[in-house]
């Protein structure tokens, strides 16, 4: 475990200046652009953003699972004290599934249709712990299933015989089979019905406490992050524009994009925000992003500097970082056109 300052919470995954590019059809697209992110041990971090903002790419990059034509071109991934980018492929493979595991969006296609459910779990355990006997692995599988509320007999079924909710819980049990430290859930509940989603979210909450596992919840569903996450990170066009505790960010969003986004999220409670905020424009294409701050074409408080120079993700107050010139002293030659109380 790395020794870090006493006040500093225990950081499980330190991501520094991560850059991921896609080379498709003669066009270079920067999906993740110099992202800095700390994931604290034991927390649920919600990573939100609209389609094409790069959050899924970031999730895959954390497991070094970027397939060509994508490529991690820069940055450092400090997981529990080890820099993952420098590891050879053979060693990184050992991290996948045992230290970091992933749950995917569509439960219907995430399990091998010709392989029984128990074979999935036993295989995963055997890959990382070859010496464990089959029977021991089966017992662990049964315990996991029981813990997640699925009947044990379902272990001998084939994936197509399980319902959507059961399959997603199987994926969770696969993630926990080797006591992974971090579970990355990439739109894990998107294709589930809202009641099943709610139950899965409850279970994730219980599991987090019991298995002391950190969860990175990647989703476009901001209301879901409000329900379950401790902290929230908002991504826009390949960059993280704001990070903070959910209570702070939801009550006092700093970045104009976060403000707009939170006001355009529909709320089912009556007499709450009767009309949705209508943000102008559309998310930019990542192949030739706007100059300077990428949100400036849609930003209500745009300043001259915003259209030329990219701001930095800096700490505005303890535990709340924001990537916007409104909260940073401007380099000389530019003056702030809008008075904002710090």
């Amino acid at each position: 475990m790395t020794n870090n300052q006493s006040s500093e919470p225990d950081i499980l995954y330190k991501i520094r200046k991560l850059v991921v590019e896609y080379h498709t059809r003669g066009v270079v697209v920067t999906a993740v652009d110099h992202v800095d992110l700390d994931i604290q041990r034991g927390e649920v971090l919600g990573l939100v953003g609209e389609s094409g903002c790069g959050k899924s790419t970031l999730g895959k990059a954390l497991m070094r699972m970027i397939e060509p034509p994508g490529e991690i071109v820069g940055g450092e991934l400090w997981f529990d004290g080890t820099e993952l980018l420098s590891l050879p492929e053979r060693e990184i493979r050992e991290y996948r599934g045992s230290k970091i595991s992933m749950i995917f969006q569509d439960p219907m296609t995430s399990l091998n249709p010709v392989q029984r459910v128990d074979e999935h779990i036993i295989e995963t355990i055997k890959v990382h712990e070859p010496e464990t006997k089959k029977s021991a692995a089966l017992e662990r599988a049964q315990a996991l299933f029981e813990r997640l509320g699925i009947q044990k007999r379902r272990l001998n079924d084939y994936p197509h015989q399980l319902s959507g909710g059961m399959r997603q819980r199987t994926m969770v049990s696969l993630g926990l089979a080797l006591n992974a430290d971090l579970i990355i859930a990439d739109e894990a509940t998107t294709s589930l019905d809202v009641i099943v989603e709610a139950k899965l979210v409850d279970q994730l909450e219980e599991i987090r406490k019991e298995f002391w596992v950190t969860i990175l919840l990647i989703t476009h569903n901001i209301a879901l992050v409000a329900q379950i996450a401790d902290r929230i990170a908002v991504m826009y066009a390949g960059k993280i524009v704001e990070i903070g505790y959910v209570n702070d960010v939801f009550l006092n969003p700093l970045h104009p994009y976060t403000q707009g986004l939170l006001q355009s999220v529909p709320n089912i409670k009556f007499d709450e925000r009767e009309d949705l905020f209508k943000m102008p424009g559309e998310p930019p294409s990542l192949s030739d992003p706007p100059q300077g701050c990428r949100f400036h074409p849609r930003c209500p408080h745009v300043m001259p500097i915003c259209t030329q120079v990219e701001p930095q993700l800096l700490e505005n107050s303890p535990d709340q970082l924001v990537d916007c010139w409104l909260y940073q002293n401007l380099p000389e030659g530019y003056e702030s056109t809008i008075e904002v109380e710090k």
Binding site: M65, P68, R96, G97, S98, L111, Y158, L174
Partner: protein, 340 residues
């Protein structure tokens, strides 16, 4: 066996009957109804009027159509295709003597096709967009475009005439044909093993090499492309990515998870390959003078033997229908989504 599977097989068996009926009817019409008088076409213009008449009588072509059809169908059901012309030997008996040779050639060719096809198809899919992928794709296209008999002739010339390593024609060297007491299956290699007659086995294998490579390689051209396409579909599925995210070895992912899933459609493709195989056998047997059913068909075309031609075609049709039935049932066992 789950009710679902039993139902699936029962339906498949029932479905084969209309299929065979349609096939047999198509053959019936092809050989009789299309424009032009079959007798003239078979005996060519030179034939005199009474030769034509005797030919029609022998083939029963002078009967009204529905009677011909009724007699034809009843013959098919009893596997009795009448007498071979000018030989007064029941066609079925001739088929029974020549068919084992075709089966043996087909088996070894299929082994080559499947092994080359699955290996290179899976390899190409695994290393998509690499030089190997394009190399394999283009060479498989060229392989399939090779006319079978031309490849056969070339191999005969190089390995037979020039280098003299391999026999270029026939199933066995002269004088090696096993007597009736040794013939069990009619497949020399199998019989040789059963009788532990290693000399016969060696000779039979030597004779098999060139023809089965010719037929096997050409068909491997299609099979590689189809396996690659199926493997690509499978490798793009989420459960492969999910497996990778669980740290499973890349090789295991491709050749165990991937192939096991891709294997199901590949099995159905094998069914289709059998049809291509039988078609290819006709040309291969003619090139290598391999005494099989295919060569019999070609020879009987020269002899204008209408009955054998019709009998052989129907027999082939039944074989193909049988194989596709077996393949479909296999499909049911292989795919858990149907079994349960």
């Amino acid at each position: 066996m789950s009710p679902g599977l039993r139902r699936y097989i029962f339906v498949r068996i029932l479905l084969t009957i209309p299929m065979v009926l349609i096939l047999v009817t198509v053959v019936f019409f092809v050989l009789r109804v299309i424009p032009g008088d079959p007798a003239v076409a078979i005996l060519r213009e030179g034939a005199s009027e009474e030769q034509l008449a005797s030919f029609r009588a022998a083939a029963g072509l002078d009967q009204p159509l529905h009677i011909q059809y009724f007699r034809y169908i009843s013959g098919v059901v009893r596997l009795d295709f009448g007498e071979a012309m000018k030989r007064s030997v029941p066609v079925m008996q001739e088929i029974r003597t020549f068919f084992p040779a075709t089966v043996e050639l087909a088996i070894y060719s299929m082994l080559i096709t499947a092994s080359v096809g699955i290996f290179f198809g899976a390899y190409a899919a695994h290393n998509r967009k690499s030089a190997a992928d394009y190399g394999i794709r283009i060479s498989s296209i060229i392989l399939y475009s090779l006319p079978i008999f031309w490849l056969g002739l070339m191999l005969q010339m190089i390995f037979g005439a020039q280098l003299g390593w391999l026999p270029v024609s026939g199933r066995l060297s002269p004088g090696m044909t096993p007597g009736p007491e040794e013939t069990i299956t009619g497949l020399y290699t199998i019989d040789a093993i059963l009788n532990r007659n290693w000399v016969l086995f060696k000779d039979a294998i030597l004779h098999l090499i060139l023809p089965s490579i010719t037929l096997g390689l050409v068909l491997a051209g299609i099979f590689t492309r189809l396996t690659r396409a199926n493997m690509l579909d499978v490798l793009e599925q989420d459960y492969i990515t999910a497996g990778r995210a669980r740290g499973i070895w890349e090789r295991v992912l491709v050749y165990r998870h991937g192939l096991r899933n891709a294997f199901i459609p590949i099995v159905t493709l094998l069914g289709l390959q059998v049809a291509l195989l039988l078609a290819g056998a006709i040309l291969t047997e003619t090139t290598f003078s391999w005494p099989g059913l295919g060569r019999l068909v070609v020879q009987r075309i020269y002899d204008r033997d209408f009955a054998t031609l019709q009998g052989a075609i129907i027999f082939f049709a039944l074989i193909v229908a049988g194989v596709s039935l077996i393949v479909d049932i296999l499909y049911g066992f292989l795919d858990p989504r149907i079994r349960y």
